[in-house]
Symmetry: C2
Subunit: 608 residues, 2 copies
């Protein structure tokens, strides 16, 4: 087993049936010299307690899944060289710690950068049990417990998973069961129509009945299925709007069907007009989620969870916290993060996410949400995440979902230590490098909160006006004098969706935090920032710095003694990152220089 479980040499064999059995197997093989007693107490759920004993052994108590999490905690602590001095107890902050795979039945992965699907091939669910057990171990050791295996864009034949292919789904659920990982399934809101029902109207009795019968059948096959994930009325997906119903009516209908079995409905809040006319300045896409959902606060059933992207756009390098996460106190919310590096370097460029996640929590009270979900960065590449260093995002996401108070440096440092046998100074170098990688990527790509200057559709590499006249509602409207959209009360008033404290923090460009300046404000290039620089000079500086820092990062990274095959992949991808960083730096600077005509104060080369 590789990745952060590199020190675990013994594969999980077939035949283990429960997390408790697995905990015992893992402890006995990973810590062979350490006597450990394992006591299960179902009432503790995911929680565990580890007590050091005077004989050098450990007493592990916990819930039926808790003992497994405790076992990995004990094992990985030891692998890190940490000896337990006093008892530790731990329970996760969030009960549902979810990974959403965007895998299609044909084996492709939407926004996948680590190979093909681990689950699907040629239209069928045909996973390799050996890799599923490896994956289960990775997920469990990171504390993750729900896995949605198919794309939220449910295209045929994915519907068959609720029909003829249900036995395959049940078999997969069984493979994951010893790891404490429960499956979730993305479903097609219009699926009843495949059974001859002429409508998918959530208030139609035949539709309601179809879902109830379907849920009964599905949970009979998979009693611990976590629930259904739904992307409705979004980017062409069917949904309640077709029938004049709102999203509470749509979600609650499904919730009613799955409630008897303890299932949940995870309902994605990614609804906006993806056919916007670029000439239309009255519509401002970041406002869309709030407008579609906020008024429904309190209307959703108890087993509905609204899954809200962390920002109001779509996984840009820098977005403010989605206001919906602050404004729906009477609704179950999950925050959706994205491990897949869709806009953040395609698992070619280094981009460690935990510093970004922690920034979200600066404004998000942890109790506002009851779950964390993340779009998967997994695929069937031998290293699972394409770039070996991208695995840090999967692991630290698990730590964050368990405990959002986690320290980023500690989390990344732990991953480094577990993954590579480096000397302490090298560990320090790599940890710092990973922690810095997001800000570096941000510097050479997106200026001060301005996103979307990226190659359309593909989302890798610069194209400063690629989305500017398109239908996606993502405009910067840069002209010869100014750039950005005014989202204050004088503009689109997106900022009006926030509590007053945050509104105040961002509404005045004189006091707005720099890195959000062009998200909220339209400003002239000559705008004088608090540090005395002009806006345009700051853009140039950031881009030149981002490129220079990438070059330094490359030197530092490539001096580290990574083992093969990781070393090879790291080298090859760093070459591509260097090329990409130079393209971004030069193209964004040229773009703004052509517009503004203002030269770099430091006389660096900006191409005409």
């Amino acid at each position: 087993m590789g990745l952060w479980l590199s020190k675990m040499k013994e594969a999980v064999p077939e035949g283990i049936r429960t997390p408790g059995e697995l905990a015992r197997f893992e402890l006995s093989h990973a810590l062979p010299g350490v006597p450990v007693t394992v006591e299960e107490d179902a009432s503790q759920g995911d929680g565990y307690r580890i007590e050091p004993l005077t004989d050098g052994g450990l007493r592990l108590t916990g819930g039926s899944t808790g003992v497994l999490y405790g076992a990995y905690r004990a094992i990985l602590d030891r692998f890190c060289g940490e000896e337990l001095a006093a008892p530790v107890e731990s329970t996760p902050k969030y009960a549902l710690r979810m990974i959403d795979c965007w895998d299609n039945p044909d084996g492709s992965i939407e926004r996948g950068y680590a190979g093909r699907s681990l689950f699907f091939h040629d239209g069928k669910l045909t996973p390799d049990p050996v890799r599923i057990r490896e994956l289960g171990r990775l997920l469990a050791s990171a504390g993750l417990n729900v896995l949605c295996i198919n794309n939220v864009n449910v295209h045929f034949p994915a519907q068959l998973l609720l029909e003829d292919d249900l036995p395959s789904l049940a078999a997969l659920a069984e493979m994951f069961r010893p790891f404490g990982v429960r499956l979730m399934l993305s479903v097609d809101f219009s699926q009843p129509m495949r059974s001859g029902i002429p409508t998918a109207d959530p208030l139609d009795p035949a539709v309601r009945n179809w879902w109830k019968k379907t849920a009964t059948r599905v949970w009979a096959a998979i009693p611990d299925l976590a629930g259904f994930l739904v992307k409705a009325d979004s980017e062409g997906r069917p949904g309640p709007f077709t029938y004049g119903r709102n999203h509470a009516e749509g979600a609650n209908m499904l919730a009613e069907a799955v409630a008897p079995f303890g299932g949940v409905i995870v309902w994605r809040c990614f609804v906006y007009n993806c056919r916007q006319d670029w000439r239309d300045t009255a519509t401002d896409r970041p406002k869309a989620a709030w407008e579609h959902y906020a008024f429904l606060d309190g209307e959703f059933a108890e087993n509905v969870i609204l899954q809200v992207k962390h920002g109001p756009f779509d996984f840009q390098v820098r977005e403010p916290l989605s206001p919906l996460l602050l404004g729906m106190k009477k609704t179950n919310l999950a925050m959706e993060l994205q491990l897949a590096q869709e806009y953040t370097g395609h698992q070619i460029d280094l981009y460690t996410m935990i510093p970004m996640w922690k920034e979200l929590y600066e404004e998000l009270p942890a109790d506002n949400i009851m779950s964390l979900a993340a779009v998967s960065n997994l695929g069937d590449d031998a290293n699972y995440t394409g770039h070996p260093l991208a695995a840090v995002n999967l692991y630290t996401f698990g730590l964050l979902a368990w405990d959002p108070d986690i320290d980023p440096a500690a989390a990344v440092g732990r991953w480094v230590r577990l993954t590579y046998g480096l000397a302490p100074a090298e560990e320090q170098t790599l940890t710092e490098l990973l922690l810095s990688s997001r800000r570096i990527y941000e510097k050479y790509t997106a200026p001060l909160g301005l996103g979307w200057m990226i190659t359309p559709h593909d989302h890798y590499g610069p194209n400063p006006s690629g989305y500017e006249y398109d239908l996606w509602g993502t405009y910067h409207k840069a002209n010869r004098n100014a750039v950005g959209i005014d989202r204050t009360a004088k503009g689109t008033d997106f900022l009006g969706q926030y509590p007053e404290e945050l509104r105040k923090k961002y509404e005045d460009p004189e006091t707005c935090p720099d890195l959000y300046l062009l998200f909220y404000h339209r400003l002239p290039y000559t705008f004088r920032m608090r540090d005395g620089r002009t806006l345009i000079q700051r853009i140039y500086d950031d881009h030149f710095e981002g490129l220079a820092e990438t070059r330094t990062m490359a030197e530092n990274l490539l001096a580290l003694p990574f083992p093969e095959p990781d070393a090879d992949v790291i080298r090859e991808r760093m070459d591509r990152q260097l090329y990409n960083a130079r393209e971004w730096c030069d193209i964004i600077n040229t773009f703004f220089f052509r517009l503004s005509g203002i030269p770099d104060e430091k006389g660096r080369k900006i191409y005409d």
Copy 2:
């Protein structure tokens, strides 16, 4: 039979074997009341003579293909209501009047906008004989006599046409033979390597021998094969450069192999650096063809024809004549036109090409070239060209290749009369509308010779900076003050590739023809044109006019009584053209307004 043969009701039956037989068949069915004597005289080749007889009959004499062209001339004249008063004689200006299909073995067509391939399905050459006979009739009635059936980008399994699939190719050649249409084949320069030869070096004896043996085998199967078409060292295609040989060495080697059989090698001159760094201002793509070929003038074998695109870029709406067509007096040249509306509206927008072609001939002495070739606009749509009005380009291309002195209005008018049974005033309306369509498309798309502001790769719809930072060498470098590339002696000196007379015509922006201004010059938006307008105002005016004229064109067009199903297609595509024209107009104007900050003098709406 539809299209311009709409009045020919009798399909060509199986079993006709020669153009002479076909001529008799066509005359007897299309002009049943007219006694015609047909006399073949092989020495006349494609030429014919038609003499009106006092009994109301005709005497047709001509070469073995000439009698067929004469028969169509007589028939179509009658369909147009023209009675012959005196004898007419005609011979074509160019012996090879070629259509290049970019059909792939899988049935797709590169830059095809009229459905799938008429020749290939699922990797195999499996044409429908009924449609081939229709197509043969269309080509012959337009005077066209060479058809290259496969894409110049020869990807596997297209190579099999010279191997296992040769019998299918021979069968297709036989189908076309009665129509006087000879096949040509695009070949892969590296094909010998498929037979175990370790190189494709044109000076290697094994390679030379392989091509000789292959030619012997191929011409044994298809004795009248016209030759091979080659795209070498271009956009990733293999070629002589791989082996340190020049293109004369490459082409002559093939020419030697096919010479004994009367075959020709058509060698495309579309070589440029398609991996250009956008920062590199020393390289100017329009210069590439001249730099690669001009010095080889006189080096090519007698049966090599260099096929040169009409402009130095790639089929933009407006390009000057390629200097290569003026500078290789000791080389056989074919000018390549493009019927497929790649950059010119995808057979959605109306775009009648003959006015553009005639502009080329204003600077091109007709004798400089010995052949005309055009990239096909054909596909398996019922109407063959997707848009029924796009067929005018195929037909008038045939007329032009026969006689480049043809009058555009007469050519288009003849097509209109043959195709639709309209009243004279309606014919006049449609003819004028078609003749105006290219200038209208140009107005709402490309400003004053500036191309490439089009959606990358797809090439439909506006994207003013889509290619600006890409690898294709197609930059406008618009900034807040100026736009364009200086191609005079003070700039890249592309203009230096022309004879002095043309250099003088274009080198001074004060006297350069307006529509080429931004092809040759970099100019400030405030540049004062001869008519007193500023450059920026002229750009705005052209775009607003282009949109307004499209709307008028739509009204006029949709008022005409087209028959179904044409009427339906014309309506639907005109709706899309109206949308496209508005997008182009507004986006180009906004793009330049954002850069220049200069408002429209007439106060029309330009979006911010």
